[in-house]
């Protein structure tokens, strides 16, 4: 076994979990990084559409990351963006034709947003930030993780909108006739409102996680300094006095 193969073998478990977690939660492209807002708002009128859009974008992400990573040493840096766009739009066209041929209902529902996957910033962002600098396997996993994160966010948004706006989930009636659905949620304004509230909820969760981490840090610091003090050390500092940049509070600034 060569050194490189060993590295690839060692890659598999811990890093895989870390990347998957990054794409789905910590670094979710839609909810944390707020990339690709157009399809997020437009295709979440029902869960079916959201999952269709998510899978289409995931496929494009996986294949574009795969090929950009394979070609990363051949693409001259000056024209890299143009090269990425050609690769991405090639896969998007292929997916578009496949959906037109085999899933005409999905094609009718998503319409112009299937070809518009080309300009979905998530895909170009992953190509530029990850696939162009990393080996093939991590790049494919990155595409998969980010794509699944996108799908998860879309499905969540769509579930809320479908439940409140049409009173159904996956087409099955939930409330029956007892509670009339609030149509506004499947209309365009509902998309903005629902996404606004979801992003606010995510910010709140991130803030809570951050506070928890800080508390843990405080505790370990206090313990260390207690030990130091026992040996004749100084005053224990508070974690908030240290340089600590909270993640997730600067989005959109």
């Amino acid at each position: 076994m060569t050194g490189e193969n060993k590295k690839a073998a060692r890659y598999s478990l811990a890093l895989f979990a870390q990347q998957l977690r990054g794409g789905l939660l910590d670094n979710n492209p839609t909810l944390v990084q707020l990339l690709g807002t157009c399809p997020t708002l437009a295709t979440t009128t029902s869960i079916d559409n959201a999952i269709g859009m998510g899978i289409a974008a995931t496929l494009v992400l996986v294949f574009s990351n795969l090929f950009i990573s394979l070609l990363r040493k051949l693409i001259p840096p000056q024209v890299r963006i143009a090269a990425y766009i050609v690769i991405i739009s090639g896969f998007v066209s292929a997916i578009e034709l496949l959906i037109k041929a085999f899933l005409p209902a999905l094609d009718a529902a998503l319409g112009v947003f299937i070809p518009l996957i080309v300009v979905n910033c998530i895909i170009l962002a992953r190509a530029e930030a990850f696939a162009s600098k990393n080996r093939v396997l991590p790049s494919v996993v990155d595409g998969l993780a980010m794509g699944l994160g996108f799908t998860l966010a879309l499905t969540m948004l769509a579930a809320i909108r479908e439940l409140l706006g049409a009173g159904t989930l996956l087409g099955f009636p939930i409330f029956g006739d007892a509670i009339p659905p609030a149509l506004i949620f499947i209309m365009p304004p509902g998309a903005f409102l629902t996404l606004g509230f979801i992003v606010a909820a995510v910010n709140k969760l991130l803030a809570i996680a951050e506070r928890y981490r800080k508390k843990q840090l405080d505790k370990t610091l206090a313990d260390e300094f207690a030990e130091d003090a026992a040996l004749g050390g100084g005053v224990p500092p508070h974690a908030s006095e240290l340089e600590f940049v909270p993640s997730g509070e600067d989005e959109g600034k």
């Binding site: 157009c38 910033c121 506004i184 209309m187 365009p188 998309a191 409102l193 606004g196 959109g252």
Partner: protein
């Protein structure tokens, strides 16, 4: 002529690109902190989208249709738009430096603005001829400008308001956009007979 006016009215108000079609949301959220930068972005989009609609319509009808290459339209359009933006930037820098000074920083951002590609694809989908697709591109961009300027005006007031901490920044902006979209959805009840 009435048909063209109808296309334009629909594209600006009834099917506003931002509030009902969800195209161009990234610059809409990103460059709307102040009304004057929003207006600059809007003008740049009007400029590029009108020219891009003309160029993509010509490419589609003169090259892709005769050679039966319609399935390449996504690739062809994105390349045309990217190189058009580059050309406009070079042309303005050399010959109209005043305009370049005003629009320059917004131009590179427009390549990834899905409104431009969206307008090109939608006008192909609707079988618009050259004049109609230019009118459609122009008025869709005017609708985008209207939306982003209104939104920036509201956001300026929201910036000094005091929302809950987790709503600061983007979430409150999205809620604001939702409320403006509600106002715009009033236009959708106008029956234009098309």
């Amino acid at each position: 002529m009435t048909e063209i006016l109808l296309i334009m009215f629909t594209a600006v108000l009834v099917e506003n690109f931002v509030f009902t079609r969800f195209l161009g949301i990234c610059p809409f959220l990103g460059v709307s902190e102040k009304p004057d930068t929003a207006l600059g972005m809007g003008f740049a989009v009007v400029f590029v989208m009108t020219l891009a609609s003309a160029a993509t319509n010509l490419i589609y009808n003169l090259i892709l249709v005769p050679f039966e290459l319609k399935y390449l339209k996504t690739i062809a359009f994105i390349l045309v738009i990217a190189s058009l933006v580059q050309l406009i930037e070079m042309f303005l820098r050399k010959y109209v430096p005043a305009l370049y000074g005003a629009l320059g920083i917004y131009l590179p951002l427009i390549t990834t603005n899905c409104a431009v590609l969206g307008a090109a694809l939608l006008s192909v989908e609707s079988d618009y001829n050259f004049i109609k697709s230019v009118a459609f591109g122009f008025s869709a961009a005017v609708g985008f400008t209207l939306a982003i300027v209104i939104f920036a005006g509201v956001r300026e007031r929201v910036a000094v308001a005091n929302p809950p901490r987790s709503f600061e920044g983007i979430p409150i902006a999205l809620v604001t956009a939702g409320l403006i979209a509600m106002a715009f959805s009033g236009f959708s009840s106008i029956n234009l007979g098309i």
